[in-house]
Every structure is written in C-alpha cells, then in structure tokens.
C-alpha cells in the first residue's frame, strides 16, 4: 500500500506529544455485586450507592440508579463499563461514563467522557475525555484519579 506511505509523516518530529493534568478524583461506593454468565462473558453488575468527587469538581455521587455493568472476559480481563451521576455543591448535575480495562495485575484504567450542562460552571469538560486511574480499596470502594489529556 505504498500509495498511502508518506515517509516524511514518519519523522520523529511528527510524534505529537501528549500529557496528563490532574482534574478531579471520584470515590465510588457500591452495593452488592451480582454476576451472571452470559454469551458475552460474565456480566458484573454493581449498583453505585454513593461517593464523592473532589478537585476541579466538588460534590457527591447520586446514590440511586447508576451502576457498573462490566464484562468479565475469558482471558481474565474485565471490560469496564460504568455510568455515574454526580451532583456538585451548587446542585449542578454531571454524567460520567467510564470505559476501560481492569486486569489481574492491578491495572485498572478507564477513559471517561463527562457531560455537563452547557450553562453550568463545569461546561469546560464538554467535548473532552479524561483518563481515570483507578485504585480498588479493601472495602470494595474504588477511587479514580482523573486526568485531562493534554
């Protein structure tokens, strides 16, 4: 496919830089885990029952109706899928969508798309996504440190 090879594009000068800047930190509390073996793998459901957010967004996690709906794969990796609703200290609502991987070696990383009201003080998140580095605590709570991808 030489017609699609432009050698100048391979110049190290065109390796565009990327970076990470701390944005906010989310701690999630979960209810009881329910797993079912499905044709896709093991469906892992955990309701989100509360939590907090701090940093550039300060507030609490709405405890009703959000949850984790991940898939445990045959190779031991979990495809993380999670929906979170957050309310900040002024009462403004945000939606956080986590997608990523949790591995047996402790690697737990997600990409998160965040929705805010265009009229809110958090509209700076619109259109962006964030890297979430997750730490699972012994009591089952999860803390995600979020970084804006620069």
């Amino acid at each position: 496919m030489d017609e699609f090879v432009i050698l100048a594009d391979r110049s190290p000068d065109l390796v565009a830089d990327i970076g990470f800047e701390p944005a906010f930190e989310l701690t999630l509390h979960y209810g009881r885990t329910q797993t079912e073996q499905t044709p896709r793998g093991k469906r892992i459901f955990r309701p989100i029952t509360g939590g907090t957010i701090s940093g550039k967004i300060e507030g609490t996690v709405y405890p009703r109706g959000a949850g984790e709906y991940s898939i445990g794969r045959d190779d031991g990796v979990t495809d993380i899928s999670e929906h979170v609703l957050v309310r900040d200290t002024r009462g403004e609502w945000l939606y956080i969508r986590n997608m990523g991987y949790e591995r047996a070696d402790g690697y737990y990383r997600v990409t998160s798309w965040v929705d805010a009201d265009v009229r809110s003080q958090h509209n700076w998140v619109l259109g962006l996504f964030f890297l979430g580095v997750a730490i699972e605590h012994d009591d089952g709570k999860v803390t995600l440190r979020y970084y804006e991808v620069l």
């Binding site: 699609f4 565009a16 990327i18 701390p22 991987y101 265009v118 509209n123």
Partner: protein
C-alpha cells in the same frame, strides 16, 4: 525496534506505542438532529515501536455524530497479516472554542438548486488550530503478538494534514 522510554507526568506512566496515518477522500454530512458525518478511511500507514502495518482501504470510516465524539470504526492489517479492529473515539475542539456555545448549531444553507452541499474538507490544523485527542479501543487476535492491545488503554493525538487529505495519529499506551 527498541521500546521508547517510559514517561511520567503527574503520576501517569505512558509511552509512544505506534503512529497511524489515515487517508480520506470524501466526507458525507447528514444534518440529522445530532449531525452525523461519514468519512471513509481510504488507506493508511502504521509505524512505530509496537505495531507496523497498514490501514485496510475502505475498511471502515468515521461515523461520528452528535457534535460529540468522533466514532470511527475501521481495520488495520498488521505487517504479519493480522487484522485488528479499531474503534477510535475522539474529540476535536477548536482552540478558543466557547463551551457555552455548544448548542448554537445551524446547518449550512442548501445549494441554489435545493441540493445539499457535500464537498467539505476538514482544514489542516495550521489553518484552524485544533485540539484532537483520541481514545482508541482495539480488538486484536488473541494468542497473537498483538493480544496486549486487547487489555491496554491508549490515548492519541491527531494532526490534520492536506495534500493529500489525511490525519496523523500518534498513539500512547497508558502503563
């Protein structure tokens, strides 16, 4: 090729994994309530320390909509012949864009004969400064040298180029 050095920023470890140039020839915009733009990938090149190969010609497209994330689905073929699916979810934010204007969107006017214009070319970022970042997810064959892509989070940086019309993506793996 040797692996590039691991870098650290604010506690995040990452390193360059590979780069991809994706070539385009057409853009089809459907001004639905959430606007959808279909942009097929006509081919491309993959190079770097952890993957080499090509973009399968007409093996997929960006189907993004909503004025929200780009949502491209297409295929790589690695140098060893393996096919790798990419779902590239991305954002393109013009530098200086005001988020409070996100809902202010009017479709362009119709042509004089009532038809819908379709010859839009995304400008190079030298003309319209753009912040393009991507979060690709891959499906690679298991029990293959590419299996690591099935369990690794990536972030990418996109550069728009014209003559020919293409975007150069630089992908980093998050360690």
């Amino acid at each position: 090729m040797d692996l590039p050095p691991v870098r650290d920023m604010a506690g995040v470890s990452y390193r360059w994994a590979f780069s991809v140039s994706v070539f385009f020839a057409e853009r089809i915009a459907i001004e639905s309530p959430f606007r959808r733009t279909f942009v097929p990938a006509v081919g491309g090149d993959i190079w770097g320390p952890r993957l080499q190969g090509s973009v399968v010609p007409y093996g997929g497209a960006d189907f993004g909509g909503g004025g929200g994330p780009l949502d491209a689905q297409y295929m790589f073929q690695a140098a060893d012949g393996a096919y790798i699916y990419i779902n590239n979810r991305a954002y393109m934010r013009r530098v200086g864009w005001d988020p409070s204007s996100a809902l202010d969107r009017n479709p362009p006017p119709l042509n004089a004969d009532g038809t819908i214009e379709q010859d839009f070319i995304a400008p190079p970022d030298s003309e319209v400064p753009l912040r393009m970042r991507t979060s690709p997810f891959f499906d690679a064959p298991k029990n293959s040298p590419h299996d690591w892509m099935n369990r690794t989070l990536f972030f990418g940086h996109g550069l728009r180029r014209t003559d020919p019309d293409r975007t150069i993506f630089t992908y980093y793996e998050v360690l």
